[in-house]
Symmetry: D2
Subunit: 400 residues, 4 copies
């Protein structure tokens, strides 16, 4: 059993909760869960979401069933088991500012210090192994120094602290006081890329995976760039547009949040190609009727042999939240595996495959296909998967 | 120095010859040469094309300079050094049948046996290390048994033997009588996939790389499929069209040759995904004004998490012959490295990256990114590249 | 009231019947019906499908409700009213040969002459105003001469006669003996393009619209070509692929039927541009999981001002049968309007907008936007629409 | 002879000047000139560019030959005749503010009033028939009232006046004092959409065409929307991205200028469809290596018959400046035709085809194909083209 708490109950949370229940009930194949074919120590059926947190007053106090019914397409059957899991009031710290949502956070009444303690007390009951941060994209700056973290905890000042950071600290306090925990950061805020947090987690007996779950255009771009690199094709430029109609794209129309995203996305070019090919890679806009199924569009032009130029156009429609949710199913299981193996701080091998901006801050991006095989190798080293099992992959791939 | 003989002097041969000379003269970056960034034992400058063979009477007896001038775009400057390299009459065996080309082969006058001997005699002078088969796509069946090869050589019967097979035998005879040689098969005919030929090469002190150089849509498809596989996204179907205006596409309008191609292309689906997703992957047509820059178009639909469906569209314009020529520059160097290391028969690690249908016949397709790192590993094992050199690749990638 | 008989009860027939009923019941907007916004003399609610004919033994004798339930997506609610409309056995004449369908035609037992008479007798009861031919694409040659038609009718020889031609003759006999009728030919067989049939219809008091309903890529191509023509952009080439998974695409894998289609499609290039730009425009393939939602892909390259070259890529997913069915809703109404106005033979203005190969045989293709305004003009001349009504179109458009 | 003065000597000006000269010298087909196939009263050879104006100090005082040599691709041969046409210093009024260009305007020394008079005096020599405004996109507000224009002219206050407006006034003064003139406004600033200017032009014996030359994605979008409208397909949403690397895209990274552009682009949706389908249509970004060949990408989703949904993806690479320049060749000739026919103010029929935001301000957008045939009709009414000439267009098209 893996006990999970969700922070931020939006589309991703709904798809995650609903998808896991449907898999448990045998009515859904685990497509979109990267490691579903492998026999990990924990199966998808072992995952148990025990609570969710949000600040949107229209869902706080309601069940996940209620929220999923409201948010998801009517032809998805919402499992009844989700009637018993509730959405509690979480930390706001302005994370939904500018959005058309009535938001209240527990820190509004209690102040930050007491809010953190209140969370830890609640979690003492829920006993989570995994705390999953998938609140709407917000902006903020890393702590960078342990001193800043400690000052924050001592003074309870919410000044300049983002909701994600507050949650990350609460998780560390919980690890110190109650149980080891894995904090999974699915959004662009620097958590696994904040050296101070990683250090604090090492000290606290906690592990953090992050930052910014890789879901749509960016992983494809990474692998296409690797493809170009493997052939020494010289990329003249890359354009990558994407537009969607969910809350995350709406939030990105607020300029500071967009800048946050842009940064996590474009680091891949230099890292994978080895040179900074001119690029325009950013979330481009919001258009409500696109809903959660974003539209991505890319153009890549490169020099091939004998001085000639080729062009590649890629377009796609990608369900944003399910792509994230499928990855989270594995991150939850990997988080528990890390805990079981006393691995604290952060794990580059995990982050490199699942995240757009893999921590720690010194880490480079690699292509996703390379990251995938490095992840398998890491799992094998932990004896979490065995090479002997037939996984339908040619033996050449497995012979690291 | 690596001495190279080209069989089939079409667009690929022209781009290869011209590109190498321009790189030698320092006027061209080696873009499109996959391993150009690595310090292999042989540099591109070491390559020396000593002769080319064809059956098209409009170029036989002429220089490569003459042929390249006629075939390539007028804004490419043809190096004068190519005036001294000549195109000789080769073996036809009907390989250009149905094409609007006046073709005569040396076997038309000499019969097959004497033709093979004549070739070996000529090569005794040229002393090639590498023999490169890039004639127009033809059809034919593998020998399959050593007995069939030996019967052919003893009786000199050209019955049902294709030009590529005849050339492959001539190369083996040359290896037995003169010097070890690497035969590189860039076309769909089964050579490295013919167990009898591989066995005959082992006995002859020769090595063959093949079959069917991976140039355009197929390597991209392979890596996109790997990308899907890594996420356990369930591919509902794949469509891949491609159309071009060069002789290779013209040849594919002849149904038997098209079937040849189709087979080499679609094996990747089952091999990479682990299941045979419905697919339509074949060269689709010929349209003269597209020239050598083919148009590829793909649609891939897959199931993601929680039962939803995503779509991916890929279109591109790809210069067909330069893509092939860039890979051949490395295959030539790898052929010489194999010879230097007494490696006979065939080499899966080389074929898997460079070929659409990698030999030996029992081999599976893997994605190209996986094949790339396996190739680097093979080179490292031969001490042909060293891990210490800084190649701009994150260390994680290199730690096989 | 307009009484309609359908010939060929496939996907198009199902969408047509279901769509009309859903519009009647007010649960569906008439999207995809070109003239729905105009107040024609007949509304969509006036359409009454009285019978359907097919040779597929798995549906002959069953209701349209039964057939639609089997064929359409389960999330489309099939109206109960369709339980009372039946599918009768029609003429086969080999039209489904090569398809995986058990097909029997009434002519198998009766011979052609008696089969035609039997049809006319049945129609005497049904009293159709409109007979709609939407059987699977078949091949065949036009009659070309009245003599050939009369010989066929006198001798009852089915030799070389296609099912569509037999149906077209039956419709003419019905017009002579019973009531005027409009025969709408939605498939590539030359009916409105067969001068002999048009002449025979004039004599018979019948009108034919055809041939080959314009549904997907071709109308878009026509309008894009017009767009190029309007700017005097010189089209260097056009590629247009399309692939689908319905019976019509399956039929096109049979080479003769494909050739039929190719011809009707590519006449647009010369007609609209004024020169025969090199093109590859043909149905490309069949892939079952695409179903009725075909994939189209185009590339168009053209010369712009000052000698430069632009490129345009178009891809799409288009529901094939609903596109056809929406047009048929109007063709049915236009057929009745023609009858009411004693218009016999064929009507270019109607054909030019709705058909890929508009009859009569001497007619040229025009772009669809031009054809649309010519159609409005034709309707205005018949007082079938009035310019005074506010249709949300700028007045400039209406000032023909 | 038509004497032309260019305002704003950027890429468009260079392509226009070079293209016209190459056509005169017979080395270029007039592709991209919409009406080139028709026998207008003036041929392309009649066009004579007599001077150009700019504020970029690196080209002021130089010849067009010099500027074109610097700006255009080296494989375009610049005609020597352009050595004799000079670029003079024009009006700045901050139009290049924020751009990396050293800009000085004549009004910097003279004040606005004297600057306008100085221009008129220069033009007294050049005797232009046509004044062409193609300066970089700038922002500004329309005059709206004649009073405001007259106040500006009397007081010479440059307060809030844009360069385009100042040029437009200078052209009117020239018309009053010297010769009738046509002012062609190729940029988004409201000139033909400013009722006050149109009125002032009527009084001055001048005509203005504008605003914002339709060059790339927008005309295609207009015709695709018309295509949807003709079929009553219900557009669920439209996304249209475009990105380029020329100065116009660079200017659009300055937010005010972008807003200017967005407005002129999105009016087409409501006007053509008759309802305001949700859309995201705006210039998206700047990426230098794309140069003048912009990348456009569209997605359009619509409801078809029986409640189903189709999707259309369009991507393209379009040479921005030549597209504009080709249209200007005709606008110059149409300007002279208007003058010859004593047509003052503005001409909707011309604007509707050539402009993104056709004036006058009350005018609606129509699709470009409709506008094209309306334009032909206008020309026929002026006897500027005759229907008898064979223009390769089916007669049905011409029968307005």
């Amino acid at each position: 059993m893996i006990r999970v708490i969700i922070l931020g109950h939006g589309m991703v949370a709904n798809h995650l909760a609903v998808g896991i229940e449907r898999i448990k009930q045998g009515e859904l194949e685990p497509y979109g869960v990267p490691l579903a074919e492998y026999k990990l120590p924990y199966s998808i059926e072992d995952i148990d979401i025990v609570a969710s947190y949000d600040v949107d007053q229209s869902i706080v106090g309601k069940s996940i069933y209620y929220a999923a019914k409201k948010a998801l397409d009517s032809n998805i059957d919402i499992p009844r088991t989700l009637r018993d899991v509730y959405i509690r009031e979480g930390i706001h710290l302005g994370s939904l500012e500018g959005m058309p949502i009535e938001a209240v956070g527990i820190e509004d009444k209690l102040g930050l210090n007491d809010a953190l303690n209140a969370l830890v007390d609640e979690w003492r009951e829920y006993k989570p192994d995994i705390i999953l941060n998938i609140i709407t994209t917000e902006d903020g700056s890393p702590f960078n120094t342990l001193a800043k973290i400690k000052y924050t905890l001592e003074n309870g000042t919410s000044n300049g602290i983002s909701a994600s950071q507050a949650y990350a600290l609460a998780a560390a306090l919980y690890a110190r006081q109650v149980n080891p925990v894995a904090f999974i950061n699915g959004i662009p805020m620097a958590i696994a890329n904040d050296d101070a947090i990683v250090r604090f987690y090492e000290e606290s007996g906690a592990v953090v995976f992050g930052d910014d779950g890789a879901t749509g255009a960016t992983p494809i771009t990474a692998d296409i760039l690797e493809h170009m690199h493997n052939r020494n094709r010289h990329v003249k430029f890359i354009v990558q547009f994407n537009i969607g109609g969910n809350n995350d794209f709406l939030a990105l129309t607020i300029p500071e949040k967009n800048k946050m995203k842009e940064k996590t996305k474009s680091s891949i070019v230099q890292d994978i190609l080895g040179y900074d090919a001119p690029h325009y890679i950013k979330p481009t806009g919001y258009l409500e009727p696109l809903g959660d199924k974003k539209f991505i569009s890319m153009l890549l032009e490169y020099k091939t042999f004998n001085g000639l130029t080729d062009e590649l156009y890629i377009a796609g429609r990608i369900n944003d939240s399910p792509a994230m949710a499928g990855g989270l199913v594995d991150l939850i299981r990997l988080g528990k595996i890390a805990i079981d193996n006393d691995i604290w701080g952060t794990v580059y091998e995990v982050n490199a495959f699942f995240m757009k901006k893999p921590g720690p801050s010194s880490a480079k991006s690699v292509s996703k296909i390379v990251a995938y095989y490095n992840l398998l190798k890491w799992l094998r080293a932990l004896n979490a998967i065995t090479i002997s099992e037939d996984i339908g992959v040619p033996i050449e791939k497995m012979d690291w």
